[in-house]
Amino acid sequence: MRAYIAKSLLQVIPVLLIVSLIVFILVRVTGDPVALMLPETATAEDRAVLTQALGLDQPLYTQYIKFIGSALQGDFGTSFRYGESALPLVLERLPASFELAVAAMFFAVIIAVPLGVISAVKRNTFTDLIISSLSVVGKAMPNFWMGIMLILLFSVMLGMLPVSGRGGMEHLILPAFTLGVGLSAQMTRLIRSSMLDILNQDYIRTARSKGIFEIVVIGKHAFRNGLIPVVTIMSLQFTSLIGGTLITETVFAWPGLGQLLVVAVNTHDMAIVQAAVFVIAFIVVISNILTDVVYRLLDPRIKYN
């Protein structure tokens, strides 16, 4: 087990290097930040001076070597937009994104678990059909559209919840619900098939034949075991939430990593884009390893070689 973890951790290094190289090249071939930084009336000379000052006149490989050298020391360069060190700017956004991701996961679970279980128990009935259709709708509904509709209903018309921004719990509800609904659609289907699988197992049939109440059979014997694969999938989805909430964060003016990244891409703020993608990649890689470990602990049939 320890050897497995050590090996996985070693594999992180090439992955992060490749990610950094791809991002590095992409942000440099897609436009010139200097053009966006200076006023329209700036002369060619002004641009040359600033390009040189930022080190952007040097060959790409020199820039990359410099970048890797500093990145190893935790220095991802200076944000052009804010004029501050990029990594702290990215890290300071993590709590907001994390908070949103946790809350979204909460909504996803409280919606998906009962719906998934019910639809498995009542498989091929009208109820099952309704739940399946709902989850298709939930999956297909674009986040931004749903966000705007929720704002109109709960904030503008009913005045129950704040429209946007980050603050107390009440600010969290709408954006988290928006994200959670999309997630829950996927999870409902997963729980349904996982539960169906278990409901067909011999030990369930045995339990039923012993005359145990159906609710106990489902709640005690089937439900617990049916959720194991779901927990694994949840952790994977959680990491994608951390980096992938761009649209929802923009709609709700939520000051998280996603919004930072959107603005950085628009303003061609290279250092921020690089640092943010690196941090997201790091989180994804590490939690993949963790998920793997948890999964192996849960299922002893998997070997650790």
């Binding site: 930084m37 004029g83 909460f106 704040p162 980050r166 107390g168 709609v251 919004q259 603005v263």
Partner: protein, 515 residues
């Protein structure tokens, strides 16, 4: 049972995390009820973008300046008509062609209590003039030196006659910084805890969320009107509109033209508009061999476009047609070309025929940044209708900027050009031979002579004439076809009286509580 333990602990962890997240979130600072209760006197304004930093010298963003003007003062200010009025300088005079003397206001203190003196002027202006990595440097690099005459008098010396010095000193980049504070603590510490002499002082900045400013009790012009001013950044326009309708903000900027009616139909909300310093225009190439080198083709382009129609339809009425980019309020404006437009599709067709395109019309490429995509599509359709063949080249903003600064567009590109100096030179320097190279390749010796002279002409009256002459010539030569002057559209609640400014600044002191 091992499996159950994992599951239970997973759920427990999740619930704990939610509780922690809820506790850890910053508390709301009452922004929700700020707009509804006028007694708290909190002004909340929503912009589409956040400020870049609190460094007025290393910033090139109107939305930033709109916030920063409340913290940092200039030596002189522009009033709402863009006339120069005293700021931190009470009066100023020309000593000779390269020296201006400024008499500074006495008894002014920075937010930390340091007195404001001529040393601060020297430090501030020389920093932005000498450090060429600062984004505002290009506006100030012609300043050679600032001499401290005495504690309340400073001479600003330029490397040649500069008719624009006062314009430069009343814009972003000239915000006066505290020299002693920065020399002692360093610029990094200053940017985390900025201080100026303005009516509002820094309280809090949560990036991409809000800037909070508190009133400065010791402001030299007396008690500020608001206890607190909050600038929120809300990128999504429909969210800004919703915040306004929900009553949680007082002013929302950048209202889409499609939302105007919705806001006006709401009780207690209204739309206010003001022309801004930005003219949407088509820049045309006149280089040898280019289709648009033919003046008849350029005139045909101008006549084929129904500018009024564009303003009324896509801009939702928020725009003023013009044949010049030097609009009223800017030095050198020629009112005879303002609020005028040419539209004559029949004549446009005729001109094309005369230019030798009897059957097949000329093919042109129109490049545009995606932010003006809709306008470009309509322009292209109008030109197509009169016989042109337009290839539309829509670019991402950063790709557009790169092509723009490397001057690699083809016959035509669309751009909205602003003017933060309020002077015709800002619009016309691009037609100087040297600058026009590769962009328009415009070459008119008469214009060149007038523009070159006006650059250093300190005689205001004759300088104004020079620019008016240039304008008349350009209106005929058409290195650019002007579509319209844009207007800023704001939504406001009934708690405030707000008259937007053409420079798009939010001077909180000019915005008054309604009761």
């Amino acid at each position: 049972m091992n499996r159950h333990k994992w599951f239970t602990s997973g759920i427990t962890l999740l619930i704990t995390a939610i509780i922690l997240a809820g506790c850890g979130a910053p508390s709301t600072d009452g922004s929700k009820d700020s707009a509804t209760s006028t007694s708290s006197k909190v002004l909340t304004i929503a912009n589409a973008t956040d400020i870049e930093s609190f460094d007025p010298h290393n910033n090139n963003n109107t939305a930033s300046e709109a916030v920063l003007v409340n913290v940092f003062d200039y030596l002189l200010k522009n009033d709402s008509q863009q006339k120069k009025v005293p700021g931190l300088a009470t009066s100023w005079e020309k000593v000779n062609d390269t020296t201006w003397r400024f008499h500074l206001r006495e008894g002014v203190t920075f937010h930390n209590g340091d007195p404001f003196t001529a040393e601060d002027v020297k430090y501030t202006i020389e920093r932005v003039a000498k450090d060429n990595t600062l984004k505002q440097n290009s506006y100030f690099k012609n300043i050679k030196e600032v001499k401290v005459v005495d504690e309340h008098t400073a001479d600003i010396i330029t490397d040649g006659p500069d008719p624009l010095l006062l314009n430069r000193l009343s814009k972003m980049g000239a915000g006066i910084l505290p020299s002693k504070y920065i020399e002692k603590n360093g610029i990094e510490a200053f940017l985390k805890n900025p201080i100026g002499t303005g009516p509002y002082k820094f309280s809090q900045w949560i990036k991409d969320d809000r800037v909070v400013l508190d009133k400065n009790d010791k402001y030299y012009e007396g008690q500020p009107k608001w206890d607190q001013v909050v600038f929120r950044s809300i990128p999504e326009a429909s969210t800004r509109v919703s915040e306004l309708l929900a009553g949680s903000i007082d002013i929302a900027s950048g209202i889409p033209s499609t939302d105007i009616e919705r806001i006006q139909g709401e009780d207690g909300k209204k739309i206010v508009k003001a022309p801004i310093q930005r003219v949407l225009q088509l820049i045309l190439r006149q280089s040898q061999g280019s289709v648009t080198a033919d003046p008849k083709v350029r005139e045909a382009i101008d006549l084929a476009i129904d500018k009024k129609g564009i303003v009324d339809s896509i801009a939702g009425g928020a725009g003023i047609v013009t044949r010049t980019s030097v609009t009223p309020g800017n030095f050198g404006a020629d009112p005879s070309l303002y609020e005028k437009t040419l539209y004559d599709p029949a004549k446009a067709k005729e001109l094309l025929k005369q230019a030798g395109y009897a059957g097949e019309g000329p093919t042109l490429t129109l490049s545009v940044s995606s932010i003006y995509k809709e306008y470009a599509e309509v322009v292209a359709a109008m030109l197509d209708k009169e016989g042109f063949k337009i290839k539309l080249d829509v670019l991402e903003p950063s790709a557009f900027s790169e092509r723009y600064s490397s001057k690699s567009f083809k016959e035509m590109f669309m751009i909205g050009i602003g003017n933060s100096l309020f002077d015709a030179s800002n619009n016309y320097n691009r037609y100087l031979l040297e600058e026009a190279k590769g962009e328009t390749d415009y070459n008119n010796p008469k214009v060149e002579k007038l523009l070159q002279h006006a650059l250093t002409n300190l005689d205001t009256a004759s300088r104004e004439k020079e620019y008016q002459q240039v304008q008349q010539i350009l209106a005929e030569d058409r290195p650019a076809v002007y579509l319209f002057q844009m207007e800023g559209i704001y939504g406001t609640g009934n708690g405030v009286n707000f008259q937007p400014r053409s420079d798009e600044m939010f001077y909180a002191e000019d915005i008054t509580p309604a009761k």
